[in-house]
């Protein structure tokens, strides 16, 4: 928990032009739509990751529709905040967030991983407008964000930097190099999310290679650690605000989530890490999410 309170200039910065600042109810509605997008595009592509994208959907929505100061029509807007998903495999949620926020048409989602689309299996700078740095090899993103934060420091720029990591990804040593760096340089404009869904490809993170006690690790690397309920929008906003207000250390939000959240048969099952729902499974999922493939794919294709 932060022991300090944001000074007025920071609060002003927090209400910059490119922030949507949506209220909880609206965010919850958008998160539901994001989940529909994810299932629909995966069903269409019949390739891609389901589990992680669904666990990231709520805090992802909070970032894109409340917190981030961005201009999707001008992705290189100099005043922008920087966001980066170090877990490149969660492109279904990344692209859904981007499309819903206006970086590119929703219909592009229906060409996910397709030869003739821009939406690559892993985020690609030169294919998708708004992707600033490619990703897909785990463990590299927090370092990229350290570089962005250092650039902001050199330029005395108030840019905030948000990085999304996985919990399995914590096993990569480079994460701890970046953690040590950000702690040393007290990069308090940097805020990392960990999608703490307790699963990775081969099973439970604690069975594969345990990362506990994770909060102690980050504290020992001189970070401000904030726990949050990763599917409770109010708690997510509280955590983000706390991170934003914290001075002198970078913040990491341990977002306690459920892999596959929102689709009953996927929830908490690591087998859904890397595969898409088959069309009939997608239909069932979309029903749970209050729509149908026909309805939702039509919405995507029309926009």
């Amino acid at each position: 928990m932060s022991s300090e309170v944001a000074p007025p200039d920071e609060l002003a910065a927090a209400h910059r032009a490119g922030r949507l600042g949506w209220p909880v109810e609206r965010l919850e509605k958008k998160a539901l739509e994001i989940r529909r997008d994810i299932v629909t595009l995966l069903s269409k592509a019949q390739t891609g990751h389901s589990g992680g994208p669904l666990s990231c959907a709520d805090f992802g929505t909070a970032l894109f529709f409340n917190e981030l100061n961005i201009d999707p029509r001008n992705p290189k807007w100099p005043e922008r905040d920087y966001w980066h998903f170090s877990i490149g495999h969660v492109t279904p949620v990344i692209y859904s967030l981007m499309a819903e926020r206006g970086y590119f048409p929703l219909k592009d989602l229906m060409k996910f991983r397709a030869f003739d689309g821009h939406a690559q299996g892993h985020p690609s700078t030169h294919d998708t407008p708004g992707i600033e740095v490619s990703a897909g090899s785990l463990g590299q993103g927090l370092s990229v964000c350290c570089g962005v934060a250092m650039a902001a420091r050199i330029d005395h720029h108030p840019r905030r930097v948000y990085c999304v990591m996985g919990d399995g990804e914590q096993q990569e040593g480079q994460i701890w190099e970046a953690a040590m760096f950000a702690g040393h340089y007290k990069l308090d404009q940097l805020c990392a999310f960990i999608d703490y869904n307790r699963k990775q490809i081969d099973g439970d993170v604690e069975d594969i290679l345990g990362i506990k006690p994770l909060a102690d690790k980050w504290r020992a690397f001189n970070w401000n650690v904030i726990d949050c309920q990763g599917h409770d929008m109010r708690d997510i906003l509280r955590a983000i605000a706390e991170a934003r207000a914290h001075r002198g250390r970078p913040s990491v939000i341990l977002a306690h989530t459920v892999m596959g959240q929102g689709v009953s048969y996927m929830a908490d099952d690591y087998h859904w890490h890397g595969k898409p729902p088959k069309p009939d499974q997608a239909e069932a999922a979309l029903k749970e999410l209050g729509t149908s493939y026909a309805e939702w794919s039509a919405r995507l294709l029309a926009n």
């Binding site: 390739t47 490149g88 991983r113 490619s134 897909g136 399995g168 096993q171």
Partner: protein, 324 residues
Amino acid sequence: MTATISLPEKVEMKKTREGFGRALVDLGEKDPRIVVLVGDLSESTMVHFFAERFPERFIQVGIAEQNMCCISAGLAAMGKVPFFATYGAFASCRAADQIRVTVAYSNLNVKIAGAHGGISVGPDGATHQAMEEISIIRSIPNMSMIVPCDFWETYKATKAAAAHVGPVYLRFGREDVPVVTDEHTPFTFGKGEVFAEGTDLTIIACGVMVYEALRAREALATRGLAARVVNLHTVKPLDRELIVRCAKETGAIVTAEEHQVNGGLGGAVAEVVVQSTPVPMELVAVHDRFGQSGKPSELMDAFGLRAKDIVAAADRALARKRAR
């Protein structure tokens, strides 16, 4: 050695990496020194067969390729025969320094399995399509490297890797690919195999491109052109003698690989050719660009890695041969 291969019209399809997974189990039965490590990719690399059969000799390392490589080195130093498996992009690049200093410089008996090599990895896109492995591994002293062409050859290559004392890198693809060899096709570590005789030119291929080369040979044959097809599965150490012989006997060479053109199989063959018997060569490969998402077949077409591309290269090579 010559193992004349002729393809039926419809060829059985099977994954190379499955040959790896199966061979590991068979190796494990006979040799208690075999230990298998994986970086959170048990099923993709097909080491799950071994894991189920020999849980006490299976080590899950999590997502930490550098660590996995050096753990393997420590196991090898204690007399084990470790195989570590991950995607080729991460095996060759994320652990490059560890391979160079700890494994290769110590010349330890570590076997490295890089799954998902090549553009045919498909929808995952560029980051996961490993296409720099031959160049990287070939440059490191003491390393050996095999790029098997199908299920059966992968099975044999895995066993050959275990039998060879020293570090070996094995490269597999992701998709089902045509099975062009069978259980009895000869396979010798370090030796290329002439899969089909011919005198007009030689097509030297590795991996899935061996199939494309055989198909290209058929197409050329309809025009009365006799292409020799060499399966150069061991890209290091290189079968120099065979390459020189092919250059001398056929006077033109086309190489074919699912890999970057710079420093790959084509480069390796070119180095031998210019130092022995300079003949016209054409290199069928990925021309120094990153991959992208798409269906494997779309990508093989788009990146020019088909029999027809080999045929076109053969025509260029033959024209140059005639013009000399």
